[in-house]
Subunit: 485 residues, 2 copies
Amino acid sequence: MVFRPIAVLCAAVLGAVACEAEPQPSAPDRAAVDLIVGGEWVVTMDPGSPVVEEGAIAIRGERIVAVGPADEIDAAYEARERLAGEGRVLMPGLVNTHGHAAMTILRGIADDRDLITWLQEYIFPAEVRFVDEEYVRIGTELACAEMIRGGTTTFVDMYYFPDAVAQVVEQCGMRALIAPTVIDRKSPDADNAEEGLAQARAFIGRWKGKHPRITPILGPHAVYSLSPEQLDSVAEAARELDVPMSIHLSESRFEIETMMAKHQQSPIAFLDDRGFFDSPVIGAHGVYPTNDDIGILAQRGVGIAHCPSSNMKISSGIAPIAALLEAGIHVGFGTDGAASNNDLDMFEEIRLGAFLQKVATMEPTALPALTVLEMATAGGARAIGLGDEIGTLRVGARADVIQLDLTDLHFAPIYDVISHLIYVADEQDVINVIVEGRVLMRNRELLTIDVERVKAQAQSLAQRINAELGGNAAGSPDETDDADN
Amino acid sequence: MVFRPIAVLCAAVLGAVACEAEPQPSAPDRAAVDLIVGGEWVVTMDPGSPVVEEGAIAIRGERIVAVGPADEIDAAYEARERLAGEGRVLMPGLVNTHGHAAMTILRGIADDRDLITWLQEYIFPAEVRFVDEEYVRIGTELACAEMIRGGTTTFVDMYYFPDAVAQVVEQCGMRALIAPTVIDRKSPDADNAEEGLAQARAFIGRWKGKHPRITPILGPHAVYSLSPEQLDSVAEAARELDVPMSIHLSESRFEIETMMAKHQQSPIAFLDDRGFFDSPVIGAHGVYPTNDDIGILAQRGVGIAHCPSSNMKISSGIAPIAALLEAGIHVGFGTDGAASNNDLDMFEEIRLGAFLQKVATMEPTALPALTVLEMATAGGARAIGLGDEIGTLRVGARADVIQLDLTDLHFAPIYDVISHLIYVADEQDVINVIVEGRVLMRNRELLTIDVERVKAQAQSLAQRINAELGGNAAGSPDETDDADN
């Protein structure tokens, strides 16, 4: 594989913000940059050259200013810091397109139960009773620590107390789309949907356009948990405020049956008829789209967040991802909340996404390795409206990149790094994480979050929850005898 | 949860070999043992008390001689070494009931291809051309390193050059059932099935009853890759030599269709009619058993090795594990070979096993956490005929145990350790591994395998294979542009 010269790469990139001139060969003339990051294998996700060897990128401020062979980058740029590439993959950070970060606090509180029991008896009561601003701050910080460590650089969040989420994101250095959830019931931060929407509007007013890494959006919960009029109000606010929306969409049989019984329409057709998709929408799950629905999603540019762990664990079903991609729909991966996963490991979602389509379609060629990696990076970025900014290593893109150490024994031997990234890599193989040009994890050490403090705070919250719920919250139904914790 | 006193535990255990008398309270009288291993949570897999807190076990020689509260164990026993339990789970080692260890050398050589292309164009040619005794030694050692590190203490192997496998197992300290593969084609170590069987008989003669950790068995490949007469010959040898067999069984649609066309019988019914199940059999995969087949498996005590990663990745199908367990069949987990997985991470198989049944049955209560953990330990041990020796923490059992560190942030907070072991734990959380009373990994350091040497040897082999196959072996079909390594 031969690298294209830097100048050609620059010319090939549309919308490059800080594309450098032809690099100078002599050391004294090297241009100053903040960071050079190498990669024995550079996975650019650029369609023309997905993997190149012995490469590097130069970062100035928040953006990538050069991509090329490591020796050329080193000859052309002088950096304050250089992260070596030997034995490492350099690639775009992962994009987690759907989740509820603060639900890490409920991780493992109730498993192996049917969805209604799980929601009604465990999750909703625990949330209304215990979720406050402090809870959200602690849970989101714990989630961000886990996500950064696993190579996630951008996430979409739907939860409550969005200012607390935004503050954590501001401090920890990640990139996020933050959706205050609007739902037609008493929630932790609003008495009803109307109050929730008013608060969401205020939140958007406070944050829209104010922070380069934080995008406030709207989070109508789902078609079955809001009235048609409430859905219209949220969609109207999205148009008026010019923000995207994130919504649970076509997730479960329950949702489909409810909508067919009430409106004789699929959730997607129902929303389309109401003009809901006039604003950019990230539809979470997309398990049961009809052929007509797939046409609507493609035509309206709706992004889909595929959450295989959650869909399997709570028996939602198997989303027809191969068909969605075939139709040209932008599909990314999401972890969903830690209460239905129970971790936030995007490498697990990627692998599971490939595995699940292969067995569901009985086609081992379905969702090959590079396709699912694309979904987790550039595809996910497009699905959430950030395709021009993140998801590929190219000049002008935001510098959201990660390095994985491929020297671990489970990668031996190496024929094909793309295969290893999908079928072998775990979150623990991520070694360095950079967002917006800032190093958030160096040599596995998290630099922006005090993990020991957060773990202790999360455990305190869990002890209080477990005690107040009578110690019966935890556990799987077949465990009669453990009172862990 | 209150621990039962040691004396009661002793009395409750059948077949205890070295059950201790009532422990003495005074320190000077403490009985000498080799090792005490603690656990903030001790997952005994004993049906009566799956999880107990602040416990420990004492190990003398190759066996567990006491299980109880940590303070009582420390009062009663004096050990040469003590592995602390704070923040850790102590549990039985994992049992990998099906695999081809040396196939780690082909890890990632060809993915995302249909089964026939994969086997005929990549795997079989590479094997016949490159697999020799040295290859098997290196590949098996690499696999053992990965398995030990991931908490697997026992594995079932089906491959070639079984003496090389046995020597690696002898040296690295694991426990294994080793099956020389008998197949009706030219294989790496035999020209045909007859020669393969003769060599297998000789191997069994050399190893049977000679080593406490090594059990030589027979490995007829599958019903479609051996003639009925050849299957009869292997079964006859198994009866004569009094050894179990491991066979790929009811794995793919291809296998079912072939047998129905040729014999108008399912593979399981066909084998049962020939008396194949008169010897203990480990059937790998079991994806397509009919109801009658399930009855046969239950009645004849056939163990099933469930390999969800492999079944998904190469589109074999979804095994009806919930139904098999319901029928009382002993089911364990297997990783299969690294070429169809592509790692040997049993914690991934366990989680996937739970997830896959939940979505396949659309019942989130299917295969709850404790059930899949049981499959990976005591159930797997029963499936391979070692249920009396390993798989639970009880007095008299072989000391095959592991510790996991639960202080990592992805376990925070902790409500339920069983949930965390299934839905969160990765192989990297395993910290100490003990087999037959010997510490094989201490604080993540492998003590019996020179990992750097093995990795280098594996990479050398891979380079030779890739070079001789023209560099076209590696990669996924959609990667036209990478020629990694």
